[in-house]
Amino acid sequence: MTTATATAPTTTAAPARPAYKVTWLRVLRSEWTKFWSVRSSPITLVTALFLLVGIGAIASLTFDPAAAPGGNDGPPITDGAISLALMGTIFASLAIGVLGVLVSAGEYSTGMIRATLAAVPKRLPTSWAKTAVFGVVATIVTAAGALGAFLLGAAILDGEAIAMSLGDDGVLRVLAGTGIYLGLVGMWGVALGALLRSSAGGIAVLVGMLLIVPGLSSLLPASIADNVTPYLPSNAGQAVTHLNQAADSLGPWTGVAVFAGWVAVTLVAAAYRLARRDA
């Protein structure tokens, strides 16, 4: 194009260009926008809340004092009202975990990852930011949901022998712990989605590890199972969501630490793959 070569040298007084720069905070803000701007995020979060509060309310409503404690037609109510109110934790964990997988694997299935990495070619900040954004959102939303479920259950069971109040020993720890557990599940979903780069694969591994593997471990010889079972992701992570730990369970915070270890290892593997592999 002749015009280009003719005019180019004369444009000496180009206007000062704004100094843009990629920073951690900006990458976080971008991931925040990304998270809230796909419809699956609010929908799945609401679903998780609905499961957490709804299932807890149903369990509290259908509680029959005559059949408890330790009746044959229901789980033993070792923790009293709070275990009824948080009956939905497992279901909520599936919703949150699946959303976590979609948050990261969705970038690969749609091709968005190429735009993301073109904007942040150092790569790893996007991964940390994505995990942090979803971890914080999932923790806060589900902790609030757990509180709501507990208060609703307390209102329903008011006057029953198993009724509990917020001030009772350990109640706040369990409610916060439920948020922390579900937040970690969400982050684990993000890590698995990024590691496998596939929504279907990530969801399959997540659901399998959370729900199926703990059941399979009972097939192992007892001597091995006793040493392995408590350290499985969902068993370890859920310790903090119970008021009283079962005999073979890890302590609440030890359990959190072990589950966080699973999440951390997966995140590091995902980061390694992100840094090394062609996008």
Binding site: A4, K34, T110, L117, A118, A119
Partner: protein
């Protein structure tokens, strides 16, 4: 300025890019040409670090792409493959990209207007037509107001109006003194806008030249003239260094005189012309001659049969 040095990319035992070296000079439009599978898209992905080279190196404005503080300000890229989440609106897509760099919302609105996306900006990108998607990709490429714009087949799938829009946009960017690199399969289309040509085949450099040189070397500066007085015109035009062939009774192909001269001579002698034009096909032919050995996917049987029939 993009500096590609001995760049090589292998996928398994397939060599997509083979010791490729060239530079994209500042302030120029560089056409990046080659047949299907020549390695154009792979090279562009390596330029912005999406794919890591097997060996060799590439720098953008003197540094590896990832080392820039604000990469979107150095070079804006439209990739061949879709790079947008189908469930996100065009606006939020651009906003999220802008936020990584601290690019103000005002600039997001600017590129939306520039790309003519105002009416669909709050629709999910997944619902976009091919052309709208291409516009969104170009809007994203311009977000950082970059010095270099690199577009992989920007007119791919666009309707004639869209093609024209891209052509005007690129001329505009070039006129502002920006560096433009665009890939294409079409020599004739590229020659309209490019200054410089980088031609590749099977991952190797086949030619690194200017458009003018390419046309000159192609040596087929022939002009097609159609007139009702072919014999008379033929006599008027013939002279030393001029070769004239008649393709039909009313058509001449003239080599050695440019369209200006032929038009002037015809007017001077009152010979009516109803067609007069540079043979652009020859450019395409020269390109095909150059790349024919390097064509990855020959469409042999059907093609040769058709040509024989013609």
């Amino acid at each position: 300025m993009i500096d590609v040095h001995e760049l090589t990319k292998r996928y398994g035992d397939k060599t997509a890019v083979d010791r490729l070296s060239f530079t994209v000079k500042p302030g120029q439009v560089t056409g990046f040409l080659g047949p299907n599978g020549a390695g154009k898209s792979t090279t562009m992905r390596m330029i912005i670090g999406l794919d890591a080279p097997t060996s060799g190196s590439v720098t953008v404005n003197g540094r590896r792409y990832a080392e820039h503080a604000a990469p979107l300000q150095e070079i804006g890229t439209l990739l061949e493959a879709k790079a947008v989440h189908s469930g996100r609106t065009a606006f939020n897509h651009l906003l999220a990209l802008a936020q990584t760099h601290g690019i103000p919302r005002r600039r997001v609105d600017e590129v939306i207007e520039l790309a003519g996306l105002q009416t669909v900006v709050h629709k999910c990108a997944g619902t976009f037509s091919l052309g709208m998607g291409q516009r969104l990709g170009i809007a994203a490429a311009l977000l950082g107001d970059p010095e270099i714009v690199m577009l992989d087949e920007p007119v791919n799938g666009l309707d004639p109006e869209g093609v024209l829009w891209v052509r005007h946009l690129l001329s505009g960017l070039a006129a502002e003194g920006r560096t433009v690199m665009l890939s294409s399969h079409l020599m004739s289309e590229t020659a309209l806008i490019a200054d410089q040509l980088v031609i590749v085949g099977r991952g190797r450099l086949l030619a690194d030249t200017t458009v003018d040189d390419f046309i000159r070397q192609a040596g087929r500066q022939d002009v097609k003239v159609a007139t009702t007085q072919a014999e008379r015109l033929r006599a008027l035009l013939s002279g030393p260094g001029v070769t004239i062939t008649a393709t039909t009774a009313e058509e001449l192909v003239v080599l050695g005189l440019d369209a200006h001269r032929i038009g002037a001579i015809a007017a001077q002698h009152g010979v009516p012309l109803y067609e007069l034009g540079q043979q652009t096909v020859s450019l395409e032919e020269a390109f095909m001659d150059l790349t024919s050995d390097a064509v990855e996917y020959h469409s042999a049987p059907a093609d040769t049969a058709a040509r024989r029939a013609a």
